[in-house]
Symmetry: D2
Subunit: 246 residues, 4 copies
Amino acid sequence: MSKIRVTVWNEYRHEMTQQAVRDAYPIGIHGAIREGLLEESDFEVRCAWLDQDEEHGLSEAVLAETDVLFWWGHMAHGEVKDEIVDRVQKRIQEGMGLVVLHSGHFSKIFRRMLGTTCSLKWREVGEKERIWNIEPAHPIAVGLPDHFELPHTEMYGERFDIPTPKDTVFITWYEGGEVFRSGVTFERGYGRIFYFAPGHETFPIYYDQNIRKVLRNAARWAAPRFMQEITCPNVPALEEIKTVMN
Amino acid sequence: MSKIRVTVWNEYRHEMTQQAVRDAYPIGIHGAIREGLLEESDFEVRCAWLDQDEEHGLSEAVLAETDVLFWWGHMAHGEVKDEIVDRVQKRIQEGMGLVVLHSGHFSKIFRRMLGTTCSLKWREVGEKERIWNIEPAHPIAVGLPDHFELPHTEMYGERFDIPTPKDTVFITWYEGGEVFRSGVTFERGYGRIFYFAPGHETFPIYYDQNIRKVLRNAARWAAPRFMQEITCPNVPALEEIKTVMN
Amino acid sequence: MSKIRVTVWNEYRHEMTQQAVRDAYPIGIHGAIREGLLEESDFEVRCAWLDQDEEHGLSEAVLAETDVLFWWGHMAHGEVKDEIVDRVQKRIQEGMGLVVLHSGHFSKIFRRMLGTTCSLKWREVGEKERIWNIEPAHPIAVGLPDHFELPHTEMYGERFDIPTPKDTVFITWYEGGEVFRSGVTFERGYGRIFYFAPGHETFPIYYDQNIRKVLRNAARWAAPRFMQEITCPNVPALEEIKTVMN
Amino acid sequence: MSKIRVTVWNEYRHEMTQQAVRDAYPIGIHGAIREGLLEESDFEVRCAWLDQDEEHGLSEAVLAETDVLFWWGHMAHGEVKDEIVDRVQKRIQEGMGLVVLHSGHFSKIFRRMLGTTCSLKWREVGEKERIWNIEPAHPIAVGLPDHFELPHTEMYGERFDIPTPKDTVFITWYEGGEVFRSGVTFERGYGRIFYFAPGHETFPIYYDQNIRKVLRNAARWAAPRFMQEITCPNVPALEEIKTVMN
């Protein structure tokens, strides 16, 4: 079986400017995600980032070789060019998978795919999070325990302004009193989308073994089973038409 | 009970340039839709159109007084300004209803809300269409028969590139051999969206009594029950947080 | 407008045998629910209970006059006769609403409608519960705050073995660390179903004003818009059939 | 990778009593389904039938070795023992896949899983059916064309009394004027369910290559990814509970 070709896109600004983030992610957030995917042999992983080139590292050629795109962004959503968002959206509609992480909830591409604001409540005090596995038979949850914890996390609380998900795989309990649909799926065109809330830039969440398993499962689940350009064809009748216009 | 305030937006270009359309809709497509809504007393209806003014008739003030927006467009989707689409999208997210008609499947606002291409197959030979009432208990279907026919229609065929609808209220059978999910609902933010396929510019479909009942039902169903601006607040903890970061 | 005819069905055994329950619900659990509904004038409410008569108070005549059936049961689910469950199921399929409360998750009728075990985790220590309003624009949530609390509650935790709900209106946070989809909707046939988790027999939950508002909203939402017996008719063709069998 | 263990259950009464059915299915309906599955090497297939033994061929041991159960029944739904239906339901809830075919829409097990009547319109004149592939990226549709035809079929028409499907994979156009959601999915517990409408006993539908591809895809899709007995445990708190009852 050929490998699933993942492109991990990271904004890669925090790491450039904040020591705390460099400490948490010395190889970049993308590097930690990539490392987690490569713990199993199903994946080929490349990385791309906002300032990589004029196209944010997401040329037509790169997308054409991408089965699943991971997206991490936070402080510079507005700097992602609309034409690149158009390109990514088209590729998702044609079948590419998309995995949106944490603060990517506010990325142009996620809001473009969902049509909603993707707003939520938030708090950054490093509280505990417990992730409940609501659909253990979902491919993204396979092998995960009934629940697992992250000792320090940014709180993302409901109401999360998203359309009713196709599947709500994980729901989070926060020490500070909120809940969150922290793992949710959507389908758009021929593409599958997974949003996963954990992953703040100053907590080493992408080194956590449960989190890494979720990411690998998500990459497998989102990998295309069918890819096709979408057209709007004028078609001839398949049956004889007896009704005639006057 | 106060009336539901509907704004019927029509591109209003076909009527200006094509005699066949003027013949079918002497008072404009918007005029026929408005007339159908006013057959019952629940509605207050105003109209707006592309070339009405710089804002396509959709100023902030008009939207602030609109509970449900009907949308008919076809040949000039690209001329609708993005800033007006942004404004309409925000209002829908905050609770305004949207009813998208026929060729409006390719409007900017519908694609913006759904995230998909909204493509389909089409054929314009005036064939017969039979609309099956799949969910007779849905508020949009109440009072409609088990099925009803349109003698001449433009064919819109599957695959219709939309996300899985919240409800599939109607499915159409076409004389030429296709099927179509012709009445489908979605929710985005606090707003409700209904797409209804019948309604070509040269067939007198908006004079049909069943079609008019669907439109009235849709306006009632899509009327807001809750409106609120959507924010992304930083919130204090509701419970004492014992977990401390090092 | 005619009133919505609600029948509140209560097992009514705990109240007969346990002083703590009599203390919490001196007029019976059904009495407190009825009282809450009657705080607004839209409803006509009768009560029925397990030992009322041979038909548990749910004769054909009673069901024929019931728009929405509320169901509270706990210790005697197995004593509800299958023929009565058949009758209630048929009436729901034909359009009657069903509101299942708390320990009714294990009732025959709820499991019959959903096809799943409806199992969950539980704990009875009287901890605090905070109910998050996930869909403030849903008719069942209208008028409810962003979140509200119950000081003492039985914990019902995920995974709740139900099919993916039509809508997840409420999600609960528990002091002890769990989460729960505490307000969920389903549709079966022409009938609407709402499950609402709060409501233990020894806590005065059905006297809480937010809870009572949820119950009234649920009764309005579940009231039938369409009722019809469901048949499986042999029908003639609507179009000429040219294909002939050899 | 180990093979998917399929059990094809056939009522196997028509073949015993009607020459036309023996002509269409000389090796039994189950035999033709089995043959279609075995065209690819992923499957191990056994058959079972109503009169095979006291347990209709569905002993605990057989179910314990079944990943996916196919179900074809028609004239003797009522003879399937409730205790066997209970057993099959429990196994599905724990993760076994179920593929219900054609007249199996009225089987006890299908109605048990869905909670609805599963009624529909029907007509048996051998008309043409065209199956539209609505979700070409769904695992069950992979490799199928945009649409395909069956020259002679029994008509099953809407409204089909089922809950809103998880996915509507196929919609059928009938020569006589009806439409039908002919391929639909559901999830119950940890199990996946696919209903597929084509398959009358006197038409050689299970020899059709497209139909056989659907059945193989369905078996792969429905194969369990997770199996577990479902319990309702009393659990200790994960967090310290400060709220105390008086």
